[in-house]
């Protein structure tokens, strides 16, 4: 039956998803979590096992409108279940990929995907505090599911904040897990009670008072935080004030689309905001759209910046940022010391303000 070439037995390694060569996932299941959040379960078309760590993410490039539109989504499923990965995605006003997934991705379809990637991975610790806002719950959900699968003895305070009680994710499943996994304590924190006026728990936003009451031993915990930027900013400040050392505080921050894009930003289509980017040596000033990388824009406008990987890996494009702020999502092509010294990678940086660059 088999032709000569195929009789050679395949090495075992080919049964495992290889991030270097494998690049497509096929959708197995779509599940409604809430009114605007769906979970998508995807697997390798060849049925390969996908090894990842809880907290990591995949980059999806559905190729909408023939464009290179990539978005990153944290895996919410347990890393012990390697047959498939699940990502949990919120519909976002103006969110091209998220909305495309909600509207189009059906079981049987496949799409371009690369991963797993990311360093939001929990360290060995005796106690954790997991703080999540909105769909920022996904990476920490993967961690809790992993703990349950491993039947690890844990000490976790799991705080999940959402806009209304109806927006809280995985409520039933978390309740079941908390009953079974000893040492998992849940705190749900809706901001307003719309939709469930009979909510009996706390409501509002995270605050210093709330955290010091709910988590008196916070300083002894390893904190993992994921959520919209303002949520993370608040959490970071509060935790620092309550004595959580920087080495015990980890936040996921690579891409706005894994978390709720804050409504204010979402309402303004990203393309409408643009910044002035000045290149000193080449004496040029460009308008760069928020959402566009400095490098891609520079290229289009004929400003020369040496580059290679265009992904923040190689460091070839490293440049001095004389003034301004960027949102940089690098992959190791630059060191913190270099960032502290004022350098950045234009290939993976989007402007947050007007910029002056020494190029």
């Amino acid at each position: 039956m088999a032709t000569d070439g195929e009789t050679i037995s395949r090495p075992v390694a080919s049964d495992v998803w290889d991030p270097e060569t494998d690049d497509r996932l096929v959708c197995l299941d779509v599940h409604d979590e809430t009114h605007d959040v769906k979970s998508f379960t995807l697997a390798s078309p060849q049925g390969k096992r996908i090894a990842f760590k809880a907290g990591q993410y995949f980059l999806f490039e559905p190729g909408i409108d023939d464009e290179e539109n990539g978005r990153c989504y944290s895996i919410s499923s347990s890393p012990l279940r390697q047959n498939a990965v699940t990502v949990t995605v919120k519909r976002v006003a103006g969110g091209k990929v998220s909305n495309w997934m909600h509207d189009n991705l059906k079981p049987g379809m496949d799409l371009r995907a690369s991963g797993p990637m990311g360093k939001f991975i929990r360290l060995e610790a005796a106690k954790y505090l997991m703080l999540s806002g909105g769909s920022g719950i996904t990476p920490v959900m993967a961690m809790v599911r992993e703990m349950a699968d491993r039947a690890e003895p844990v000490d976790v305070v799991f705080l999940h904040a959402g806009r209304t009680p109806l927006d809280l994710l995985f409520r039933e499943e978390l309740a079941v897990l908390a009953r079974r996994v000893k040492g998992l304590r849940l705190v749900f924190l809706p901001e307003v009670l719309t939709g469930d006026p009979a909510w009996s728990g706390l409501s509002g936003r995270i605050s210093r008072e709330l955290l010091s009451l709910m988590v008196p031993d916070i300083a002894a915990r390893h904190v993992l935080c994921c959520g919209p930027a303002p949520f993370m900013a608040a959490a970071r400040t509060i935790c620092a004030e309550l004595g959580v050392g920087a080495d015990r505080y980890l936040e996921e921050s690579f891409d706005a689309s894994v978390v709720d894009t804050p409504a204010i930003v979402a309402e303004v289509p990203a393309a409408a905001v643009s910044y002035k980017v000045q290149f000193l040596k080449q004496a040029k000033v460009l308008d760069v759209d928020a959402g566009q990388t400095v490098l891609s824009c520079a290229k289009k406008m004929g400003v020369r910046i040496p580059s290679s990987c265009a992904n923040g890996i190689c460091g070839t494009c490293k440049s001095k940022l004389v003034s301004g702020l960027v949102d940089m999502k690098h992959e190791g092509g630059i060191r913190q010391r270099e960032i502290d010294a004022g350098f950045f990678l234009p290939c993976c940086s989007r402007p947050l303000t007007d910029l002056v660059i020494d190029r």
Partner: protein
């Protein structure tokens, strides 16, 4: 009997007479220079730098030895690595000579990108099926002996580095060189063959006439003297000096500081000598007045009276004192040019101008190194003159040179020359 095919150098090696300096050709010829690089710099352990030169992840320093270039770096796990500075694509040099900070090792030519452990992680335009796995930067075997980095570029490295390791690991521990910093570095290019540089360093016959600064703290008698040539008074002094040596060494060792001489200089592959030397005068450090140059002592040192732990190798000399250390490495550049790179180390927290004065720290060895460079150039000019014939070493004060020349000839022969 095995047939031995004489190499073009063997007649030169054969011409060396016991107790005499080397035949001229060994100091001047280009084919000897090539053979020296091959034998003594590619096949033996050589000292190339210090852990504390790359204190943080991403710190790297490039060291060039002949046609070879290596990168000493600290990776993201804070481990020291040494890799060859040759891209696995088409061979371009990856980093330029000197110190730098890197996040990845990126070849400037076509941007092949290597992790700090040497693994190739990104090779643009080579196709999805391109196998990166066997294209890591070539590792170099190295040993950190108390924070001093020795490398060996041969596959088969001499095993007797173990003795050096055993002896020095313990001796260097209190100085904690891993937590020192390079306060100053000077490169001097001597106009002479590297063996003249080493020979000059291994005797102090020339010290009293040439090194007024060094002689404040250094005792030239330590490296031998002819009792007959001393005046009665000097002889008495010398005897007192050696009685004091025996006594000090005993006291130091009793306090837990190994001090006795350890020599591995003949019939061996790895050539070294160490001893805790007495510092003259104020007894603290090799400075103009023999008092400490840094008030913050090195490592775990609590006293300034522990003398000078000296260490020779075949391409280095070092002095470890309570307050600072001086380390020199030697790289041949051509038959008649040699790089001497001297580094002054102090405790990593010592602040210039507060804990130490840079002039005081460096003065003695800057002067000494310059004076020696003159002497080496003078020797090179002389051995290149047809009138030169090898002369006799003093059996009192140049014994170490006879050892070195003998070891040199043996090692050349052992490697087929």
């Amino acid at each position: 009997m095995l047939n031995r095919f004489a190499s073009p150098l063997s007649s030169l090696l054969d011409a060396r007479a016991d107790g005499h300096s080397l035949p001229a050709g060994l100091y001047t010829r280009d084919d000897v220079f090539e053979a020296d690089l091959d034998v003594f710099f590619m096949r033996h352990w050589i000292y190339v730098g210090l852990e504390c030169e790359v204190p943080e992840a991403g710190d790297a320093v490039v060291i060039d030895i002949g046609k070879i270039s290596v990168i000493l770096l600290r990776d993201d796990e804070n481990e020291i690595r040494v890799v060859r500075n040759v891209c696995r694509h088409r061979g371009a040099r990856i980093l330029d000579a000197g110190p730098t900070v890197v996040s990845k090792l990126v070849c400037p030519y076509h941007q092949w990108t290597y992790e700090l452990d040497g693994a190739l992680s990104y090779a643009p335009h080579m196709g999805k099926d391109f196998d990166k796995s066997c294209r890591s930067l070539k590792p170099v075997q190295f040993k950190s002996i108390g924070g001093l980095i020795y490398i060996c570029l041969a596959d088969e490295a001499p095993k007797d580095i173990e003795t050096l390791d055993e002896v020095m690991r313990e001796r260097l521990a209190p100085y904690d060189l891993r937590n020192a910093k390079v306060a100053h570095q000077v490169d001097v290019i001597e106009e002479g063959n590297w063996k003249l540089t080493m020979e000059n360093n291994r005797e102090c016959y020339h010290c009293s006439a040439n090194h007024p600064e060094l002689c404040v703290s250094f005792v030239d008698l330590d490296f031998g003297f002819d009792p007959e040539s001393l005046s009665a008074e000097d002889r008495e002094q010398a005897e007192a000096h050696f009685a004091m040596y025996a006594e000090r060494t005993k006291a130091w060792e009793a306090d837990g500081f190994p001090s006795a001489t350890v020599e591995q200089v003949r019939d061996c592959e790895t050539n070294f000598r160490t001893q805790r030397l007495i510092i003259a005068g104020a007894g603290e450090s090799q400075t103009e007045d023999a008092t400490a140059a840094s008030s913050k002592l090195l490592g775990k040192m609590t006293r300034k009276d522990l003398g000078d732990t000296h260490l020779w190798g075949h391409n280095s000399w070092n002095h470890f004192m309570g307050d600072h250390a001086v380390t020199a490495m030697v790289i041949p550049l051509s038959a008649d040019k040699t790089l001497v790179r001297t580094k002054w180390l102090v405790h990593k927290d010592a602040v210039e101008g507060v804990d130490y004065d840079l002039h005081k720290l460096t003065h003695v060895w800057i002067e000494t190194t310059n004076q020696d460079a003159d002497l080496v150039a003078r020797s090179q000019a002389g051995v290149s003159d047809p009138a030169y014939e090898p002369g006799p070493y003093s059996r009192f004060s140049e014994r170490a040179l006879d050892d070195f020349a003998t070891w040199y000839i043996d090692r050349m022969r052992a490697h087929g020359y």
